[in-house]
């Protein structure tokens, strides 16, 4: 992993920054040059909701290279409260506790390491919301 390749995504991955289509109002994540729904090129940066609901989920038992030490881990398709969808790991949860409809919030976590001398990548993961009393 080269440093610039990691660095250029930092804003979006650390702060959950997406885009708002000024034409159709779609919230787009990750960022791109035009709206995938209406083709409009006028897109404004926006902050995504940090809370959402699990639409579907799975448990990765056999991970790709670089993720071995985290397995098994949960990956979910999440609908954020602003309507955007995001794919993310869900942490601080046992697979048995996962269910469709689970309320989750974004959290900042380590994602993977590039060997013993490469960079350590961070980014968003989600975790179950524990409600205040």
């Amino acid at each position: 992993m080269s440093v610039p390749r990691y660095w250029r995504e930092i804003k979006y991955r650390y702060r959950l920054i997406g885009e708002l289509c000024t034409e159709c109002g779609a919230i787009i994540f990750p960022r791109r040059s035009l709206c995938p729904h209406c083709g409009c090129r006028e897109l404004e940066e926006c902050k995504l909701s940090e809370t959402g609901t699990v639409l579907s989920w799975t448990v990765i038992q056999h991970p790709p290279k670089g993720y071995e030490k985290y397995a098994p881990y949960v990956v979910a398709l999440i609908k954020l409260d602003d309507g955007a969808q995001i794919l993310s790991q869900v942490v601080d949860v046992e697979p048995e506790e996962m269910r469709v409809g689970l309320r989750v919030e974004a959290t900042f976590r380590r994602v993977r390491e590039d060997g013993s001398s490469g960079i350590i990548e961070y980014g968003y993961k989600f975790r179950p919301i524990i409600e205040e009393p």
């Binding site: 995504e9 787009i28 994540f29 990750p30 995938p36 729904h37 639409l55 579907s56 989920w57 799975t58 448990v59 990765i60 038992q61 056999h62 991970p63 790709p64 290279k65 670089g66 993720y67 071995e68 985290y70 881990y73 990956v75 979910a76 398709l77 955007a84 969808q85 995001i86 794919l87 993310s88 790991q89 697979p95 469709v100 994602v111 993977r112 980014g123």
Partner: protein, 377 residues
């Protein structure tokens, strides 16, 4: 555009070929296909492959394979569209002949997956997805299918047994197939008691890892099997941007276009080779291809309609599940198998009186869909 025919096909057995290299496998299939085709000369070479870059550190497969086959001077290229490389290669090759530019072309699909460790293969397969925001989460190709599998079971109240039936039937069909990687029966009970690969997908509901090569010679000279249609369509690359993840839009688009071009409807199809990389993708495909209503695919399969002697024979040599899935070669295997069926050369896997067959080859979670329809004359 002029008609294009399949003049010769060849397949190598799929498996772990420790003694054979990427080049050995490709040559074995290509030389056999050339021998059968008896064409005067080859005008262009298309090599379909997905993983040689990450798995063998090998690119430049067009020139490499042309050299290995002694085909100097012709145009040669690698075609890559992840797991749909084969279907897209057939599309490109077919266009070249249909246009009148080339008279006869050779298409080789080749993949050598046993050279790498399993986690390296999983990373290579995840290259079909966006690296910065999809593969980045640590999800695997099976993991993405698992998200759809759970949604499907919840929305349509499908039973795990109904979904798993596709794998059991595919295995049944592979018995007696000389090129199948797993030519034996596996019961639904055994499939559902195998370890989880990505919950709710069990290991025996996924295609495996294998080496293999298949080759086709396409020609303008009139032959017994015509390419009635070859289409490609793409969908939103991110699952999160699709209006419904359970609609494989690209499959619908490519198949409608293919039926139109061939002048037929789904009812005219006598057999199908599905892209059942996991059972759920096979089932969603059956719905999207127009063979069964949305939400009824799993039931349709479990009722036995897709058996070789059923209403719609599917995966007549075992499909990706049991024949095997050497990813970049898979689309070529499928087209070769349909041709063998139409020519009556399918041996113990033969379907009676088949005239029209359809092959569906997908890349990613159907980000690319390719449809090939063959017709016997």
């Amino acid at each position: 555009m002029r008609p294009v025919y399949i003049a010769g096909v060849a397949l190598t057995p799929i498996g772990e070929h420790w003694e054979l290299s990427l080049r050995d496998l490709a040559c074995e299939a290509a030389l056999k296909a050339l021998e059968k085709a008896e064409v005067e000369r080859i005008d262009a070479l298309y090599v379909s492959n997905m993983g040689a870059a990450p798995l063998q550190s090998q690119l430049h497969l067009g020139a490499l394979m042309a050299d290995a086959l002694g085909l100097y001077g012709l145009p040669a290229m690698r075609v890559e569209a992840a797991q749909a490389s084969g279907g897209v290669a057939v599309h490109e090759a077919h266009l070249a002949v249909a246009s009148g530019l080339y008279d006869s072309v050779l298409v080789i699909g080749v993949e050598k997956m046993s050279d790498a460790l399993p986690q390296e293969v999983r990373s290579a397969l995840a290259m079909a997805e966006d690296q910065e925001y999809t593969a980045y989460t640590g999800v695997t190709d099976v993991g993405l299918c698992a998200l759809l599998h759970r949604l499907y079971m919840e929305r349509y109240e499908a039973e795990p047994e109904e979904v798993a039936a596709l794998a059991a039937i595919s295995h049944e069909h592979a018995v007696g197939c000389p090129h199948a990687q797993y030519p034996f029966r596996v019961s639904v009970e055994r499939i559902l008691s195998s370890p989880m690969e990505a919950d709710p997908i069990h290991m025996l509901e996924c295609s495996g890892i294998g080496d293999g090569a298949a080759a086709l010679v396409l020609t303008a000279d009139r032959g017994d099997v015509e390419i009635a249609a070859s289409t490609v369509a793409v969908d939103h690359f991110f699952l999160t941007e699709r209006s419904d993840p359970l609609t494989l839009e690209a499959v619908g688009t490519a198949s409608k276009r293919a039926y139109e071009r061939a002048g037929i409807s789904p009812r005219d199809i006598d057999l199908v080779e599905l892209h059942d990389s996991t059972t759920i993708i096979g089932i969603l495909s059956l719905e999207e291809l127009g063979f069964v209503e949305k939400g009824f695919g799993a039931r349709y399969v479990s009722e036995g309609n897709v058996r070789r002697d059923g209403e719609l024979p599917v995966n007549t040599f075992g499909g990706l599940k049991a024949r095997g899935n050497p990813v970049g070669a898979t689309g070529i295997y499928q087209v070769a198998e349909i041709a063998l069926q139409l020519l009556g050369e399918a041996g113990r896997c033969q379907v009676e009186d088949a005239e029209v067959g359809l092959a569906e080859n997908l890349g990613g979670v159907a980000s690319t869909a390719t449809i090939t329809i063959l017709r016997r004359h």
